[in-house]
């Protein structure tokens, strides 16, 4: 047991902290008013930010250098996250590519797919959105009905995806399509990589709860997807076996999508808010409690990373963290609104953050589904 950061990690932290401070200042000077990355203009602003990160080697610290990373460990990733969120840098618009698609590419991709796609993800050249959800496949991902019909030299896609985060601004979509028309549920699905500029693909952005155009519907109408539409095979894993590829990503999404660093930064903001405005004794205790919950998440993540580095599979345990961070995020923002009093009604970072937090128990698998997973797969209760 050793809970000290190594000298290398400490040095990386110092470098990163300085880099972030300088570069955020420069970037902000360039762009003028900083907008939400979930609006078209804000997305464009943040691509400039993402390219800065990439050029300095910070866009995917834990990846091999050949793919644009810096060969870091998961510990380095953790340090990166702590410093990144601490600095007040924006949400990562490349998140779906880096945190959801890439782990599946590392695990299931061909050498060609990895060589070609990963560097473009790290560099924010290809901008990936997820194509999991459909109008009738939300919590029930296996309800996918979008079809991929095999034809000579490629696939023909039909159907609709929806709730595709930032879909209106992305260049590519990854997702499941029903490739075996006679199949049901988890079988007969293929994980496809789809450029969004194909003929027959229409993307319509729509607004999230907070008013930003953060969602899209993606319509496929006899859209021909050539086998090499992404410069290499568009199938990730095996044909008709996409479910297992998607599931491996789901576990990553739940377990490591939201690092403790985000919540450490949020709770630090709450301490500032308290220092500024004060509050009553009951709220003081509530804030101390939330601080403890955040810190418990940090500590649990240290255990999780230790286990991952020991070769333990994250698996269903990821559902434990998903419920924790998503409910914690709401609690943190509710405390902020409490401290703001009547000003809580004003549009601002805290009210925006509150609305975003409320999506946490819904996306990446509802918390009801996560609790089922905990009960059935972690505790072994009967289905």
């Amino acid at each position: 047991m050793d809970l000290n950061w190594s000298e290398t990690q400490a040095a990386m932290r110092r470098d990163l902290r300085g880099w972030l401070e300088r570069n955020l200042a420069e970037w902000r000077a360039e762009i003028g008013v900083e907008l939400s990355g979930d609006t078209r203009e804000g997305f464009a602003q943040q691509l400039r930010w993402e390219r800065r990160l990439y050029e300095a080697g910070w866009s995917a610290v834990a990846w091999p250098e050949a793919y644009g990373g810096r060969e870091g460990t998961l510990w380095d990733w953790l340090v990166f996250e702590e410093e990144y969120w601490r600095s007040g840098a924006p949400q990562r618009v490349t998140q779906n590519g880096i945190q959801i698609l890439a782990p599946s590419l590392f695990e299931h991709g061909t050498q060609d797919q990895k060589d070609l796609l990963l560097p473009r993800i790290a560099a924010a050249e290809d901008l990936w959105c997820q194509g999991w959800s459909e109008p009738n496949a939300g919590s029930d991902l296996a309800g996918v009905s979008s079809r991929a019909r095999r034809v000579s030299g490629g696939w023909v896609l039909d159907g609709q995806k929806t709730w595709t985060t930032r879909g209106a601004f992305c260049t590519h979509l990854f997702g499941l399509f029903r490739s075996d028309p006679d199949s049901e549920r988890h079988r007969g699905l293929t994980y496809l990589l789809v450029p969004l500029d194909l003929d027959g693909v229409v993307v319509r952005g729509f607004s999230r709860l907070d008013g930003d155009e953060g969602f899209a519907e993606v319509f496929f109408t006899e859209a021909f997807l050539p086998d090499d539409a992404v410069g290499t095979s568009v199938v990730l894993g095996d044909v008709d076996r996409g479910w297992s590829v998607a599931v491996s990503a789901a576990s990553t999404e739940r377990g490591l999508l939201r690092s403790p660093g985000r919540y450490q930064a949020t709770v630090a903001g709450l301490l500032d808010l308290w220092a500024e405005r004060g509050g009553d004794a009951a709220t003081r205790r509530r804030l101390a409690a939330a601080w403890m919950l955040v810190d418990a998440y940090r500590l649990q993540t240290l255990q999780t990373i230790t286990a991952l580095l020991d070769g333990v599979d994250l698996g269903s345990e990821a559902s434990l963290a998903k419920v924790w961070w998503s409910e914690l995020d709401i609690e943190l923002h509710e405390i902020a609104l409490e401290l703001l009093g009547t000003d809580a009604e004003l549009e601002g970072p805290w009210s925006k953050g509150h609305q975003f937090a409320l999506a946490g128990p819904i996306y990446a698998g509802t918390n009801e589904v996560q609790r089922n997973i905990v009960a059935e797969r972690v505790l072994g209760l009967p289905r």
Binding site: S133, T162, E347, L358, I362, T366
Partner: protein
């Protein structure tokens, strides 16, 4: 001893409910997000006498008490009516201010006033009591809030206005009527969110069955329904206590606001969670009611403020 709305009171409520269903549907609330609210529902309420329930008959009002009005205000909450019904009919009218669209926020830390961009008159606290200002006597500094249909602004008086009352007790009573109205609106909003969510849960299928057949969804909605069951009588009692000048009226309105605010919070969380991503878009109607409930839960004193008032009243 008898505790229920009688036929007359129910009839007034039903009138309000019917006209709001017709004239203030979700589309009207949605439209009010980007433009001044359509006045037809407001005019219809005025025609039905709803704005003058507390105005004496001698002055052209209905000459009734708060137990008649509370159901109407609850219906306005259910419809998320953008207009300032609580301020106009419940706070201002008994102070002799009638026949005009009044806004006010006599909340604990008054700062943001709703309906400010189109109200005809503003009832504001001043050093010597409550003063009424015409729209040309105030400076409006619009602010962006989470619920744009409220048309909030910070309001700065320019002229002297007109003293409505200098009596501290009357000012406190006006504040308490505002708290009561806000509680009733919150209760109505909870009813609406429950209807929307029950309807959705019965119709939306996942895993081959309606999501409303899953126990987790059932229990979310049962919990919300239970909260409503016990907030509703407290809101009605608060109206009764205010109407009859009962000794516990002040506590009763705080209790009503606390319960109705909690209820809306439990209900809102359940509504959003049971709708899933579909409720998490501005294309769906849920957000119209949800955001209104967030705004009102903190208006006219939040949960802590009212709990502390109750604590003091029971000797804690």
């Amino acid at each position: 001893m008898r505790f229920s709305l009688d036929d007359d009171r129910e009839a007034l409520r039903a009138t309000a409910r019917d006209l709001l269903a017709e004239l203030c549907p979700p589309a009207a609330v949605r439209a009010a997000w980007t433009q001044e609210p359509d006045p037809s529902a407001w005019h219809a309420l005025a025609d039905a006498g709803a704005l003058a329930v507390l105005v004496p008959e001698s002055e052209g009002g209905l000459g009734l008490d708060e137990t008649y009005l509370v159901g109407v205000v609850e219906e306005a909450g259910r419809a998320a009516l953008p207009h300032p019904l609580t301020a106009t009919a419940l706070v201002a009218a008994p102070l002799g201010v009638a026949g005009t669209t009044v806004t006010t926020d006599l909340g604990a830390s008054s700062a943001i006033v709703p309906a400010a961009t189109y109200a005809e008159a503003f009832l504001l606290r001043s050093d010597d009591g409550l003063r009424l200002y015409g729209a040309d006597e105030v400076e409006i500094e619009p602010v962006e809030t989470v619920d744009s249909s409220r048309h909030c602004a910070r309001v700065h008086p320019r002229g002297a206005g007109e003293l409505v009352t200098g009596d501290a007790a009357a000012t406190e009573a006006a504040f308490e009527r505002g708290v009561l109205g806000t509680a009733a609106e919150l209760l109505g909003l909870s009813h609406r969110m429950l209807e929307l969510t029950v309807g959705y849960a019965a119709q939306r299928h996942q895993f081959g069955k309606p999501i409303g057949s899953f126990q987790a969804v059932k229990h979310h909605l049962a919990n919300a329904r239970i909260q409503i069951e016990f907030a509703a009588p407290a809101v009605l009692y608060a109206a009764y206590a205010v109407a009859h000048g009962r000794g516990d009226a002040s506590r009763a309105v705080s209790q009503a606001k606390w319960l109705a605010g909690n209820t809306a919070s439990v209900m809102g969380r359940a509504a959003l969670q049971c709708h899933g991503a579909i409720g998490y878009t501005t294309e769906h109607d849920l957000h119209l009611y949800l955001k209104r409930s967030w705004a009102l839960a903190r208006s006219w004193g939040g949960a802590g403020f009212h709990a502390d008032r109750v604590a003091a009243s029971i000797g804690l």
